[in-house]
Symmetry: C2
Subunit: 605 residues, 2 copies
């Protein structure tokens, strides 16, 4: 935000498939026009194994067949789905104002997007949200899309070994469109999908589905190219971000967001309060319902898929924070607390909550109810302020559901390991299983520079316990703006956390990739090992640092242990003998059962 070093402009966004990967598409049954993308990773012929299909949120950017031009935007694949319902209508929409871009002009102004589509909203009396349709028994194209997507191309795994501890989640062997509909109808999952974001490839967020991750991006203080802003999103989804939050502040918020959304295949989230605050010159006390309301409509018309709304922070909660070690650490929370204290009244987010619901409902913007009082230190974890707000979020959840709105609940923060489970349990209880969306949590405060790790530990655990989406933390957390490498590190760390959680919950397909990679490792198929990893480039580069030659890609060792001490090589060497020995398995059992045929000398002595 302040005196950042100038950056090299990025003229092109990153495109092209990941190594050995092909984008495949699966059609729908109910909605045959669907083309659900997946990434298929080919293995070396010597593996004699089918390719491995993995979840793919990278959009057309990794599809060589797609023509990418950010001034044209992505294909509007959902346009027909939405328009076909005839429950919505286009309209002229709000006129863009100078304040929307912070009064930037001339060279300071990010150009408007190249084209403008009329915004669309629900016709009067029509309930168009995924929740409303699910309740009405309708399986939308979005619902079938995510059902296919979650299955990763596999058929029902009736025969699969189901392992894991899901803490009461109900993950099916095979995800059907009807299961998706049911989960959404119950409020236990959401598909953030604004009807004005037709470029979206829908994704589902709920505890009975694959754990998702979010990456935050934001504009820089220096005027940067539109391509650079779009590239931040493209880069994050390339490595696995399921959703992206645009947390831009300063000037050009409106125009940059338009460039991002028109090129975004993933749900885009925002905190509308940030833009509203810019509109009042950064003076929190000057915020008003009118300005906020106008900002909601502005962003809803653009196609933002979910809004963080800090409506749960009540005036009465603020005194509970005064003795905290780190006070209020949520930006939105601190802004609203300041407003509440200044005016000495409940926030307009709380008092106008029903009207907010009406707006969200007209566009199907999903609520992400913000935790303005999340703990910012180990000392403040699970305190009265945090849990008081969480209870209010539970009340607001029911109100939003009454308005047919989809809801997620945001969660902490800084929480030591032994207090993580309580967060999840309490959230499930007071919010009726609405999807939990947590930041970390960070399990210690003492490692700035490594908070992707302090939080990755907590994220894996809370994901296991039931959190549906994990908001990433980068190594720069608490210290500064993340750069490109930090974003990638944050995303990969959170993919690890989410996948570790899927494994532990017993997701029926999660272990397929682990097993394929481990077989590749054991068989010294180095290329396959790289290609199956979350970050093939880094895995390969690390290997090649010490063994750069192509021939080493077939070597039955690596530089870590060298050829003589490679346990896997030795393990292969002895396999035949071990199998012969297995003929003695009956005897082996006998030994294990306490047999002492081979009494050690020690025991005899």
């Amino acid at each position: 935000m302040t005196d950042l070093p100038p950056k090299t402009p990025i003229t092109q966004v990153t495109t092209g498939p990941l190594p050995a990967s092909e984008k495949i598409f699966q059609p729908g049954m109910l909605h045959p026009e669907l083309r659900v993308p997946m990434r298929r990773i080919a293995l070396h012929p010597s593996a004699d194994e089918p390719p491995v299909t993995v979840y793919d949120c990278s959009g057309p950017y990794t599809d060589p067949a797609a023509h990418i031009a950010i001034d044209a935007g992505l294909s509007r694949i959902r346009e027909g789905w939405v328009a076909g319902r005839d429950a919505t209508q286009t309209y002229a929409g709000r006129v863009v104002q100078a304040a929307d871009n912070g009064f930037a002009t001339g060279a300071q102004l990010t150009p408007e997007y190249t084209q403008r589509h009329l915004p669309r909203r629900a016709r009067a009396g029509q309930a168009i949200t995924q929740l409303a349709q699910a309740r009405a028994g309708i399986v939308t194209p979005e619902m079938e899309f995510v059902a296919i997507r979650e299955n990763l191309g596999r058929q029902a795994l009736a025969q699969s070994v189901r392992d894991g501890e899901s803490f009461g989640a109900a993950i099916p062997d095979h995800v059907t469109p009807e299961f998706v509909r049911d989960e959404i109808a119950r409020g236990r999952a959401v598909i953030p999908a604004n009807i004005n974001h037709p470029e979206l490839e829908p994704a589902i967020i709920g505890r009975n589905f694959l754990v998702k991750i979010n990456a935050n991006i934001g504009n820089s203080a220096v005027t940067s190219s539109m391509a650079e802003e779009v590239e931040k999103m493209v880069w994050a989804i390339r490595w696995g971000a399921d959703t992206v939050m645009d947390l831009s502040t300063g000037r050009n918020i409106h125009n940059i967001r338009e460039w991002i959304i028109r090129n975004a295949p993933v749900p885009i989230g925002t905190v509308p309060l940030y833009q509203a605050l810019e509109k009042v010159g950064g003076v929190a006390e000057d915020l008003s319902w009118d300005i906020f309301r106008d900002t909601l409509i502005e962003q809803a018309e653009q196609g933002v898929d979910y809004f963080t709304i800090h409506a749960g922070l009540r005036l009465a909660h603020i005194p509970l924070t005064v003795d905290r070690v780190t006070g209020i650490v949520s930006r939105g929370g601190s802004i609203m607390a300041k407003w509440c204290l200044h005016h000495h009244r409940e926030s307009f987010l709380y008092t106008h909550f029903a009207e907010i619901c009406d707006i969200m409902r007209a566009y199907d913007v999903t609520f992400s109810l913000g935790d303005g009082l999340r703990p910012g230190s180990i000392a403040d974890a699970n305190d009265a302020a945090q849990f008081a707000e969480l209870e209010t979020l539970g009340q607001l959840t029911r109100i939003a559901w009454d308005h047919d709105c989809q809801v997620m609940i945001e969660g902490p923060g800084h929480v030591p390991m032994h207090k993580i489970r309580e967060n999840m349990t309490k959230q499930l209880e007071v919010c009726d299983e609405a999807p939990f969306y947590t930041l970390g949590p960070l399990t210690t405060d003492i490692a700035p520079g490594y908070d992707h790790i302090t939080s990755g530990i907590g994220a894996a655990m809370i994901g296991w316990f039931g959190t549906a989406m994990l908001c990433y933390v980068t190594p720069k957390e608490h210290l500064g703006l993340p750069d490109r490498d930090d974003v990638k590190t944050g995303v990969i760390t959170y993919k690890i956390a989410a996948h570790a959680a899927d494994l532990a919950k017993g997701h029926p397909a999660a272990q397929i990739r682990d097993d394929a990679l481990s077989r590749a490792r054991f068989q010294f198929r180095w290329q396959d090992q790289f290609n199956l990893s979350l970050d093939p480039d880094t895995a390969r580069a690390f290997h090649d640092e010490t063994l750069p030659k192509e021939a080493h890609k077939l070597a039955h060792f690596c530089s870590m242990c060298g050829p003589k001490f490679c346990s896997m090589k030795i393990s292969h060497d002895i396999r035949d003998a071990a199998r012969a020995e297995a003929g003695m398995a009956g005897m082996a059992q006998k030994y294990r059962d306490g047999g002492d045929l081979y009494m050690p000398a020690a025991a005899k002595a």
Copy 2:
């Protein structure tokens, strides 16, 4: 081990204190000659807080008052403690053989250490181990040393808030020498302290003490300077490695180890099997008890503090591994399995276990009973092979205890989150609470290049559940030899895991550092925040990337959110108003208790 790129020789080891840190020493009460080192981190005067004292395993290298010369070695502080007992005697010792250094000669031969001290061993009939002395009711200097060390200079915290879930551990408010003695006598903790390693600053490993971490180092295939080998150890302990394992293979093992031990203030561990295998030209089948026994004595005389011994791998266990996805992944395990199958008999480690105990006992070398059958993939976690071996390790533990030997038990490996707890529970049960020493565990297989993180998650959890020492994993795991940066990343990641575990277990002093850092964060004392962090250099560098000026070290914001959106700044701005509001705390309570004085418009509608 093969064609590594040449490295720049390191002519000097890293010395000097960490930022704002001073080394202080505390004397003993029972043993007034003790000088127990701690690191005291000074805070900015504006903090108006006492300095924070933290555990310090970095040795004299971070003490500006110490004269460091690796050819002279560290002060032999324990020499008097050991000799004073009169239960040991010096003797001529084993003659170094050409095979000990892999027959290296001339320029290929790492020079012998500059001086030779006669080795020392127990007199006939004398039981000199820490375990034997503890059982005899003796509080050794080592025991008092670690008691003082664990308390971090604080007095008894009778008034401290004890938080956390320790899963049955019994962590005292204040560690007394008598408590240490008792824990050692029960076998629940060890002080690895070979009587031939007088340079050692003793550390304790047990579930009722601070969680410790180990870093592995090893020589390079290229002939490197002695300083470079010593530097690897110095670098690892600078960042927090409590023990270091020298896993060198190839030539010069003996001489390099001598340089390391003479300069090591931390316990040094080895896997003697690696050197024994070198002595038989890498042919596992040619290993014999005689060669192994000779290697144990060679290393015990040098002062190695703990030996990994894979004695739990029995012939009958091997067939249990044939259907594994990744077979046997422990180097030692695969070597011994090969030997067992070739000779079709139990390993000499198992059949000669009592004799091994006798050797360990004479020098007080601690057992680290190796898990040769640890799982190398998620698919193989907690399988029959792994647990069969663990049960054998439990039997061997009791035999070793009968011989007055200290024992740790090594653990996995690759384990998904939901199977971690079972490892710990079973280990506590079958090994009678002997300290568990685990590698990771890695919670997924799919992220080579990031296995410090996949394993850091598992390490934090198993540390919480009761593991006493965590063996680090670097980003290069599975891919190649770690370099200097990888070692640091691995150590810091594991310090995070160990500290997160200490917090969650409810260690009474663990949160002191978190609280001090969080207060510094909230008060914008940037220098204090850096200085209190596990890696001050990285924290500062990350901050300075975007805000390099000295003035920014006093700024009430960072580049992450900028001045307008800094929640902590706003939080300060509103503190007075919030405190006034706190006068309404009674009313606040009323609202939280279901009060609806401010019924939202939504609810009314």
